[in-house]
């Protein structure tokens, strides 16, 4: 740090300001004294002149000798000090020279024995102040020069002394304090400001500074020691946390495993329980046994719903559900829901009204799976809680920008309604409306919670308004929904419901340890250009993949010997096979697709049981396809949903009798594997029907399926 005005300098300025003031005063005083001295000298000189010439003047006046008086006067002004003289007696008056501003007047007294003392007149000797100035001018110069020289010399001396005694030591101390590096300094460090033999405030400061440095060094080493201990502790804690995290991850993984296993292990026996219970319902005639059976069915369904909902909620809360936006046809989703609930709507004589904005874009970027789930939940609730009247689905869009719209989907019913104070609570987990008849309505109490969370994950809002006895209105508001580009909207139209698409010739490998699964998938590709190879375990899958280099692999994750994860990792690490797309087939719905991709190299995943629609869509990303557009058989996209039942019956009537018989038998046996196989067989013929039957199987609504098969 550069100090422009050092302490020494400031001290110097302060001292010399006073000194200069005092010097000026003393100099002026000295000059004044010089002046008065010179003035006195002149007066004394005038007195001397008086003494010298007084008697002569007296004699001249006594003798009345004007000539002599004149001569004396000339003698007086001969002296420089006298500028003029005036001698005035009674009879003689003499004046020579000029009158000046200084005058010395004296009486002329003649003294003689015979006459004593006689005053004869007076004389005035004149002088001028200019003479004073002439006399003092050199003294003045001397005084001023002397004062200036003394001041300058004193200045220099004091400057040097203050520099030596104050500035230098302070500067040294300042430099030492500024450059002091406590990390490098040792205890032997001592600052010496160069005033060893003197004892004053600065040496005390030096001593204090050195003491302070010593203390700081000591404190620093103490701090270092504490820091080292702290670092050790932090490391220990970090290790502990790492271990805890690993444990938590292991525990989480175990939990995921557990949930996956549970979902798999619980659903299979539940299938049997519910399937046989439903089938048994047609055989049992005893009324009491029927009540027992209905209780088993109701409890089982509730348990299954609860289980699915818990799993869904678990996934949402653990962040494992990722919204995957893709071109989505809201028309189709609403139509699907209409079809799915067509039977119940028919049974309850409810109208299902669609009011869809005629300007609604064909496809919007939404997650079709999750939107479908929410719509089914809300429409399902509406159907459930409405005994008469109608259910109305309204879709409106508001285009604010060129590429995005704000979307409003409203599901309105004329059901029992929800009291106002209950309206906020219905979105809470496991909450059911107070006084709700569980036996009548069932449900886990998680549907609305899941729906709300899903909508929120889409940056939307799900809200409700309701009036008891009049009905409820659930409103989904999704803002800034991107409009799918036309080409992508076309891709969305690849829905097998509308178009038929064929894979070009390709070879795929199906790896699954469960034979029925392998057969089911192989059966799907039987009449296509795709050559499907099968592998019963991971080891075979590796061998076949390396040998045949298939265009795509469908990989079950849980296989004996080498599991699907390991097979994929090995294939992806092999240069020959790493290009092969591998689709994971997971029976666990907890698998995270992103994690599968990142950790093992999977290119995609499909949950089991495999939806053939999804299978087609995911395979179409990797295999070449041909598209043939034709008018498919449908459940009447243009018709009102209330007309869906006769249409279903019409479609079912066209199904082969053998297929229908096989399906009845499979349902009666509750052979899920066979049921799925049969559904897959009609997938290509009528995907919509296949989807409807599959949903009913998933919901264990076997009686409904049997009813359909009656047509």
């Amino acid at each position: 740090m550069n100090v422009r005005r050092t302490l020494g300098f400031q001290l110097l300025v302060a001292v010399f300001s006073v000194y200069i003031f005092v010097t000026m005063i003393t100099t002026i005083t000295q000059m004044y004294i010089e002046w008065t001295n010179a003035e006195d000298e002149i007066k004394n000189d005038l007195i001397s002149l008086q003494n010298s010439f007084e008697s002569g003047i007296a004699l001249a006046l006594w003798e009345l000798s004007e000539e002599q008086t004149q001569r004396i006067a000339r003698g007086i002004i001969y002296f420089n000090i006298a500028t003029g003289v005036q001698i005035e007696g009674k009879r003689i008056k003499v004046q020579l020279g000029e009158k000046g501003d200084i005058q010395h007047k004296f009486e002329i007294i003649y003294t003689a024995e015979e006459v004593g003392q006689r005053s004869l007149g007076f004389a005035i000797i004149y002088s001028t102040r200019k003479l004073i100035f002439d006399r003092v001018k050199y003294s003045y110069i001397s005084i001023v020069v002397n004062a200036v020289l003394k001041t300058f010399l004193l200045w220099v001396i004091v400057l040097l002394i203050s520099h030596r005694l104050i500035t230098l030591p302070l500067r040294k101390l300042t430099h030492e304090s500024q450059t002091l590096d406590l990390e490098k300094v040792d205890r032997s460090k001592k600052v010496n400001i160069g005033l060893d033999r003197r004892e004053n405030e600065l040496t005390l400061l030096e001593s204090s500074f050195n003491n302070m440095v010593q203390k700081l060094v000591k404190s620093r080493s103490e701090l270092d020691r504490v820091n080292q201990n702290l670092e050790i502790k932090v490391k220990e804690r970090t290790e502990e946390l790492k271990l805890a995290k690993e444990k938590a991850e292991i525990a989480n993984h175990a939990k995921s495993e557990f949930i996956a296993n549970m979902s798999h292990e619980l659903r299979a026996p539940m299938n049997a329980v519910l399937g046989f219970a439903q089938l048994l319902d047609t055989l049992v005639t005893d009324s009491q046994q029927k009540r027992y059976l209905h209780s088993i069915q109701t409890g089982g369904k509730s348990l299954l719903t609860l289980m699915n909902d818990i799993l869904d909620l678990s996934k949402i809360e653990s962040g494992k559900i990722h919204i995957q936006r893709q071109p989505t046809h809201l028309h189709n989703l609403v139509e699907d829901a209409s079809n799915i609930f067509s039977l119940k709507l028919s049974q309850k004589h409810l109208k299902f009204i669609q009011e869809i904005d005629e300007n609604l874009f064909p496809a919007l970027m939404l997650d079709p799976v999750r939107i479908r789930q929410v719509l089914l939940n809300l429409i399902g609730n509406a159907v459930k809680f409405t005994e008469e009247g109608h259910i109305k689905v309204t879709i409106k869009q508001k285009q604010k920008e060129e590429s995005v719209v704000d979307l409003i989907i409203v599901i309105k019913d004329t059901g029992i309604g929800i009291p106002e104070k209950e309206q906020k609570k219905i979105f809470e987990s496991f909450y059911q409306q107070a006084g709700q008849d569980f036996n009548k309505y069932g449900g886990s109490g998680l549907g609305l919670t899941i729906s709300k969370r899903l909508i929120e994950q889409m940056d939307g809002v799900l809200s409700v308004t309701s009036e008891v006895g009049k009905g409820s209105v659930f409103k989904i508001a999704l803002n800034q929904v991107a409009i799918a580009p036309l080409e992508e909207a076309d891709v969305a139209e690849k829905n097998p419901l509308v178009k038929k698409e064929f894979f070009k010739p390709a070879t795929i490998l199906i790896a699954d340890d469960v034979e029925s699964n392998r057969e089911l998938l192989a059966e799907v590709f039987k009449d296509t250009e795709i050559n499907a190879m099968v592998a019963a375990n991971g080891q075979d899958a590796l061998l076949f993949a390396e040998e045949h280099l298939p265009d795509l692999i469908l990989m079950d994750l849980k296989m004996p010997i080498v599991n699907g994860y390991e097979v994929t990792r090995l294939l992806k690490s092999n240069n020959n096979t790493k290009h092969i797309p591998i689709i994971a087939l997971s029976s666990s719905i907890t698998e995270n697709e992103e994690e599968l991709h990142k950790k093992y190299g999977f290119d995609g995943s499909l949950p089991k049981p495999v939806s053939f629609t999804n299978l087609f869509l995911i395979m179409s990303q990797f295999l070449a396809i041909e598209t043939i557009t034709e008018k498919p058989k449908s459940f009447g996209l243009e018709e009102q949903s209330t007309q869906s039942v006769p249409l279903i019956a019409e479609v079912v009537r066209d199904l082969p009798k053998e297929w229908k018989e096989n399906m009845k038998q499979a349902i009666n046996r509750v052979d899920v594997k066979q049921i799925n196989l049969l559904i897959n067989q009609i997938q290509e013929q009528d995907a919509q029907l296949a989807e409807t039957i599959k949903m009913k199987v998933d919901n264990f609504e076997y009686q409904d399926i049997l009813a359909i098969l009656q047509f």
């Binding site: 006594w62 003798e63 009345l64 000798s65 000539e67 003689a112 015979e114 006459v115």
Partner: protein
């Protein structure tokens, strides 16, 4: 009461008759042993000489006490006018002096002559001739050298330039003249004979500057009319007794 008035009247009459008469007389400054016939001072401070003795005779005749005060002639004139002294001796008459002085006398005659060096050959027959001589002369300051000389001095600056003045009774004039530091000086013929004996190189020039009677001059300012009256009366008495002539004759023998 009558007796008291008679007493006071008697005192007044006697006071007038016997009032103290004190006269301060100017005298020339001379030293003891100096050769002068008119003014002589003795070791005891007493005075004598022709002029002194004539004055003593007058004052004593008038019954006055007297003291002698040596001073320059011109100062004495001023002091007489101012009343500082009461009497001057050898006092020539002129109109200016009559303004401040009474004249009593004559007491003596005075002949003012010119002293020059022998070797000088100054052709001086009139006052005008002084201007032709290339040297300066001197006379006693304040001295009245006759009406003609006084007029010439006042009216002819060139003439005036030829003269300087000295303080009265200055015998150094003889020495200075002998040394040639002046052309000559004017002196009382009565006094010079005794000095010329000492300075044989000096002589008296035949041209007489002035020859006239001299008087006692009495200060009009300091001397009362009564004293004047006394002095007149005394002078008449001395004249009548020829006392003054006797004194003159005594000193003529000494000359």
């Amino acid at each position: 009461m009558k007796q008291l008035l008679m007493f006071l009247l008697t005192c007044f009459v006697f006071h007038s008759a016997y009032a103290i008469c004190k006269i301060k007389v100017r005298t020339a400054k001379v030293s003891v042993g100096e050769n002068s016939l008119k003014y002589i001072i003795h070791d005891d401070g007493s005075w004598s000489g022709l002029t002194i003795d004539l004055t003593k005779a007058l004052l004593e005749e008038a019954g006055c006490q007297y003291t002698f005060h040596p001073m320059p002639w011109k100062r004495a004139l001023a002091d007489l006018e101012d009343g500082h002294i009461d009497m001057m001796m050898n006092f020539s008459f002129n109109k200016d002096r009559e303004k401040f002085a009474y004249y009593i006398g004559p007491m003596d005659e005075e002949k003012m002559i010119l002293i020059v060096q022998k070797k000088s050959n100054y052709q001086i027959n009139s006052l005008e001739d002084f201007k032709k001589i290339p040297v300066k002369f001197s006379f006693e300051r304040g001295a009245y050298l006759g009406k003609v000389f006084d007029n010439k001095l006042k009216t002819d600056p060139e003439f005036k330039k030829k003269f300087s003045q000295f303080s009265g009774g200055d015998i150094t004039n003889y020495e200075r003249l002998a040394l040639g530091r002046m052309g000559g000086f004017i002196a009382d013929k009565y006094e010079v004979a005794i000095h010329l004996k000492k300075f044989p190189q000096l002589i008296v020039h035949p041209f007489t500057i002035n020859h006239d009677w001299v008087y006692w001059g009495i200060s009009r300012k300091s001397v009362s009319a009564e004293t004047i009256l006394k002095l007149y009366q005394a002078y008449i008495r001395l004249k009548d007794k020829k006392s003054l002539e006797q004194i003159v004759h005594q000193y003529a023998k000494l000359q």
